[in-house]
Symmetry: C2
């Protein structure tokens, strides 16, 4: 039997949604997930290895890949570009592993455009009030930064309807939310739209 | 918080797919499912109670309900009509319970037409060869009947692409297949299309 193609999962969520904790729990629960090595235009730091930490490429190469649809998503940070090469993602998926991209809403929309098969999951705190409470509870950010993050959330929610799924991450509920995501993966693999040749294969 | 509406699940599968065993396992695993009382035109047998075993109604009443879209699905058996009244199904769903209809493909298509929210699951043996082996292994049916069931399967598979999900029920795998269906239920409840007011509710 041929290896079933992995799922490309995009997980987005505003500050305070607990994405990191949920993804950590997910990795502990299942070995069906894999990472892809990102590409960057920044210089390698001492000890970093090309192809392991990142693929270190030039700005020209990076921009050419963007133009050719060779980057699933990318972002600029401190003057450097970071992104997921389509080729890297494809290798993971062909190997039968599921790939998680933890990215912001603009990147997610770009992935969906290039990869209609991608499954977009929006992770949310239980409510806006609870999100604000979590951000203030951290006690590490300035009021200005907190307000900026909350304002950003309103923008993110405005495109939420383009996502496939929404999961709410309750306080202490990362384990449960990871189970939500595992259920989504299991169900998606059974969708007829991912098994178009079901009748043919059945009679083989 | 208001009770979330239950899911209407339609499960179809050819003879030998093990629907009965899978649904039994599903009921044992979760109390989120409920039954609806069917309607029939046959006379009550001694001891049967109207509204408990069946809603016993006249043929005219039954046919009027079909014409008015008041029957989610129905079938004729030995000259009597049997069906699921939409009102009964609606009560279960509004109560937050999931409702399973174990019906054939024509009925399933009718349900989907009346209830676009319905989730259609096709349950299959691992392969046609395995299905034939199971049917013959029962040793209770005539060769003619077995061939008729296998021929029927080809017709059923031809409409499989209209289903939402396909699950394969391996030998001894009813428990695992029930878990597939539980994952489908869990994932479907998180679909954005079932939570259209997500942004509004988040900021309430």
């Amino acid at each position: 039997m041929k290896t079933d193609r992995g799922l490309l999962l995009v997980i987005s969520g505003p500050a305070g949604s607990g994405k990191g904790t949920v993804i950590k729990s997910l990795m502990e629960k299942s070995d069906s997930f894999s990472y892809s090595v990102s590409a960057t235009t920044r210089a390698p730091r001492p000890g970093e290895i090309n192809g392991v930490n990142y693929h270190y490429i030039t700005k020209e190469d990076f921009q050419e890949r963007i133009a050719n649809g060779g980057m699933l998503e990318y972002t600029e940070y401190c003057g450097n570009l970071y992104g997921t090469p389509k080729k890297e993602a494809e290798e993971v998926l062909l190997g039968g592993k599921n790939l998680i991209l933890e990215i912001e809403v603009e990147g997610a929309m770009n992935v969906k455009k290039l990869y209609n098969e991608a499954v977009l999951i929006m992770l949310l705190p239980p409510s806006f009030a609870k999100q604000e409470e979590r951000l203030r509870g951290r006690g590490t950010e300035t009021e200005e930064k907190i307000l900026a993050r909350l304002a950003q959330t309103k923008k993110e929610l405005a495109v939420a309807e383009n996502y496939d799924y929404v999961a709410y991450n309750r306080d202490g509920g990362a384990d449960d939310t990871a189970d939500d995501i595992l259920a989504i993966v299991r169900a998606e693999k059974l969708r007829l739209s991912r098994n178009p040749d079901v009748a043919t294969r059945y009679f083989e």
